[in-house]
Symmetry: C2
DNA sequence: TTGAACATGAAACATTGTTTCATTAATATA
DNA sequence: TATATTAATGAAACAATGTTTCATGTTCAA
């Protein structure tokens, strides 16, 4: 483990403590893998990075806990493609606006567009909004430039 | 089967023909069940309405075909909650803008808000958009008024 | 250091996704 | 209208994912 990775895990330890969660191996590992990844990752990709520390049931329960604590979030691309991403916490707690997600149908990568925030939708009278998820599919910058 | 249902199935037959699809029992049944439902339905709910005409594998393949032909669409609420809805075709083919979906976390119903269209998002340079899915969660009008 | 509270992993089962293949059904046209 | 071609069906079988129960192991506060 290099210095950057070690620092990452120390930050995660503190984050867990702040959220009132016990520091366990699976929580630290999964969180730090996601916090160091540019793209959101699937269970399979996380599993690969965890090596033999991975257990399916523990993974299942760990992501439940981490999602509830808003340390990570789940992005559903498709009914069979589920990805996980570290929730960046550097934004103002007050205007905690969610960002949109972009899925490239060519390279199949999912990108958190942190700078593109979800817009406000005027709902019919009587509806109360609590969450909004936006997923845009298309061709990403990288694939587009390669052509 | 009442008159309205029979009319529905006749329309579906024509729709399938227009799309170059064979008229089969499963396609007609599933399409007409969805076209007559106010809310999007889950596989289980569709199964219930189909009675003993239901077969899991046929369902799986039928929805694939119907989605591809844009006769129905799939809405993913959650990784374990998938719903299907009839695609209303009364909109102009040219500005085929998608509508948003609202999921009520209280009554767990999903609502196609046909009148609330997805907004245009300004993506970073180089990104090309083809589809956009918006799912808003909260409390629906009905549940809100009951309180 | 130790006990209460919680997390883990094994087992077992449910649900959903998916392919292969022999059989059956739909439809165009002869 | 009969039939040949083409496609859909349903059985079987398996993979992946979701989920609970329970005995055991771990964390952390006092």
């Amino acid at each position: 483990m290099n210095r950057k990775e070690k620092e990452g895990e120390m930050d995660i330890a503190e984050l867990l403590k702040n959220k009132g969660l016990k520091k366990t191996n699976a929580r630290v590992k999964i969180s730090s893998i996601l916090s160091q990844s540019v793209q959101p990752l699937s269970e399979k990709e996380i599993k690969k990075k965890m090596g033999n520390e991975y257990d399916r049931i523990t993974f299942y329960r760990t992501v439940q806990v981490l999602i509830k604590a808003d340390i990570i979030h789940r992005i559903i691309v498709d009914n069979t493609q589920i990805k996980y991403a570290f929730t960046k916490d550097d934004k103002n707690e007050l205007d905690k606006t969610e960002h949109i997600h972009f899925y490239c149908t060519q390279c199949h990568k999912l990108i958190c567009l942190e700078d593109v925030l979800v817009q406000y939708y005027e709902l019919p009278k009587g509806y109360i909004q609590s969450e909004c998820a936006v997923l845009i599919k298309g061709i990403c910058k990288n694939c587009n430039e390669k052509k």
